[in-house]
């Protein structure tokens, strides 16, 4: 068995083991549904009530992706601006840190105030949660471009745009994609927070309603859906990252393939 295969096997075993242990412990101690449902109950609930859960899952995914897309757009623009010069980087960084350290849950009521309850505040919350990792990474990637590399380009009389397109942006790609993995999970968190606070659709809202009617298996089914969506989004962007910026990992398979 190759080391890689063994690693995969071990992590699969850990996941399966976790759920099995959960199931067995609940049975052994006779834990009630209303406190902690067993995984088997959660899965059954999930399957039985799929028609009810499905539109909410789609809504959450939709909100997340729209917020994420806006976050990428805003993040790349801001990051490029801040990373464009050492001065801009030094000047803007403190403000950026200040903004990013605000707990984002706190801004949801403000969005609700401005736009009313519904999809819009959720999209915006997703956006502001995911924008900071992107801004910081893009700006760092651009600002840390080797000065010698820029000298080579400037000696060739390359314009600022030439340098950005040929050196700055490609060099920033690994930072950018690394931030996307984090950002998409953050966007997801933002969506669910906003849905929990002020929305009538989405998994967050579903879980709120389920918990207020003590439908605990449904709450956990929602949690399972969230975990699944989160993993899928993370894996998708990890995959894109490896495909696009394999050079930064310096693996021979990338060069050959």
């Amino acid at each position: 068995m190759s080391p890689q295969l063994r690693r995969r096997f071990a992590s699969t075993a850990l996941i399966v083991g976790f759920f099995v242990a959960w199931e067995l412990l609940c049975l052994a101690f006779g834990v009630k549904d209303i406190v902690l449902p067993r995984p088997s109950q959660i899965v059954i609930t999930l399957i039985q009530r799929m028609p009810a859960i499905w539109p909410h899952a789609l809504q959450t995914l939709y909100t997340t992706l729209v917020g994420f897309a806006l976050g990428i757009l805003a993040g790349v623009c801001l990051g490029a601006l801040i990373g464009s010069s050492r001065l801009a980087y030094d000047v803007a960084y403190p403000l950026l840190v200040g903004f990013s350290s605000i707990p984002k849950v706190a801004v949801v009521p403000i969005f609700v105030l401005w736009f009313g309850a519904g999809t819009v505040p959720a999209v915006l919350t997703a956006m502001i949660l995911c924008v900071f990792p992107i801004v910081v990474n893009v700006a760092t990637g651009l600002a840390t471009t080797e000065p010698e590399l820029e000298d080579v380009m400037r000696a060739l009389k390359a314009s600022k745009l030439d340098i950005l397109v040929n050196v700055g942006l490609p060099r920033t790609m690994p930072y950018f994609f690394a931030s996307l993995k984090v950002a998409v999970t953050q966007a997801f968190v933002g969506t669910v927070i906003a849905e929990t606070v002020a929305s009538n659709r989405g998994i967050g809202n579903l879980m709120m309603i389920a918990s207020s009617s003590f439908d605990v298996p449904l709450v956990f089914a929602g949690l399972l859906v969230l975990a699944a969506l989160g993993v899928v989004l993370y894996v998708t962007f990890s995959f894109i990252e490896v495909r696009v910026t394999g050079w930064a990992l310096r693996k021979d398979e990338f060069a050959m393939g």
Partner: protein, 280 residues
């Protein structure tokens, strides 16, 4: 052997690069560093000049001034008869680090100047890309990198990357070639081999070359003229003509004349070092 210092000659018409009473100071206020004291330097078209001296003597500053990467604090830098930057002169640069782009293959790395510099830039968008490819592959073969064009820089050794970096500096047929210790980080055998390659490239293409180096043997092997510099403040204290016939060989570097030249340069540099730095 002509080793006598060259007397300050009056500016000739065919001077390609000319520094007239140039000084340069980095930073301002308390952190000011006076990198280059009043300096005059003239480089003929197609000449090969080496700048040698201790660290911090302003060698790289001269390089950057001539390239137009920094502006002189006072004095005039003329390239091709006009203020630097005024005349579109093609410049190639190679540094101690290969500074290749890791996300591009060697061929695409070498292609970079052709994507940027006129007139190739326009042609690159046109139909000549395959022609450029062939030219790059030929150039890579000339420096011993045949068959490596599709490799990525990080798959190669330091010496191979440095060869590719030289190709990148030369591919757009620069009129001015700036070499900032390009062989400094290599082992001795690779370095000597690359000297030979560099000499070939210079003899076939005849760019005007300004080489910055710590290595006196390298300077004597490659250059037509060696400018010895002194640190703090940086200035040129002597210029020596190197008249060994070309093509020069490594064997020549064991020649008594060659050895005495490098030895004399060495003593000059040692004696010009600030007293507090000399090891007892």
């Amino acid at each position: 052997m002509m080793l006598a210092p060259v007397p300050a000659a009056p500016a000739r018409l065919d001077a390609f690069v000319e520094l007239q009473r140039v000084t340069h100071t980095y930073g301002r206020g308390d952190k000011q560093v006076h990198a280059l004291d009043t300096t005059d330097l003239r480089i003929d078209k197609g000449d090969f000049i080496a700048l040698v001296g201790p660290s911090g003597c302003g060698k790289s500053t001269i390089l950057k001034l001539v390239t137009g990467l920094i502006n002189a604090s006072s004095g005039t830098v003329l390239v091709a008869g006009r203020e630097v930057g005024a005349e579109p002169v093609r410049v190639g640069m190679a540094f101690q680090n290969p500074t290749l782009l890791p996300w591009l293959t060697l061929r695409d790395n070498v292609m970079l100047p052709l994507k940027i510099v006129a007139p190739f830039r326009q042609e690159y968008r046109g139909k000549r890309r395959t022609e450029f490819r062939d030219r790059i592959d030929a150039l890579l073969a000339q420096v011993g990198l045949a068959g490596f064009a599709d490799k990525y820089p990080w798959q190669l050794s330091g010496g191979m990357m440095q060869r590719a970096s030289l190709c990148r500096a030369l591919v757009h047929e620069p009129q001015l070639l700036m070499l900032d210790e390009p062989f400094g980080a290599l082992d001795q055998f690779t370095r000597e081999e690359l000297w030979g390659i560099m000499q070939d490239l210079w003899m076939t293409r005849r760019p005007t070359v300004l080489l910055v180096t710590h290595d006196l043997k390298e300077a004597a092997y490659l250059a037509n003229r060696i400018c010895v510099m002194q640190a703090r403040p940086g200035r040129i204290i002597e210029e020596s003509m190197v008249a060994f016939p070309r093509p020069r060989t490594i064997a020549m570097s064991y020649d008594p004349d060659f050895v005495s030249l490098t030895q004399r340069l060495r003593e000059l540099i040692m004696s010009a070092r600030p007293a507090r730095e000399t090891v007892p």
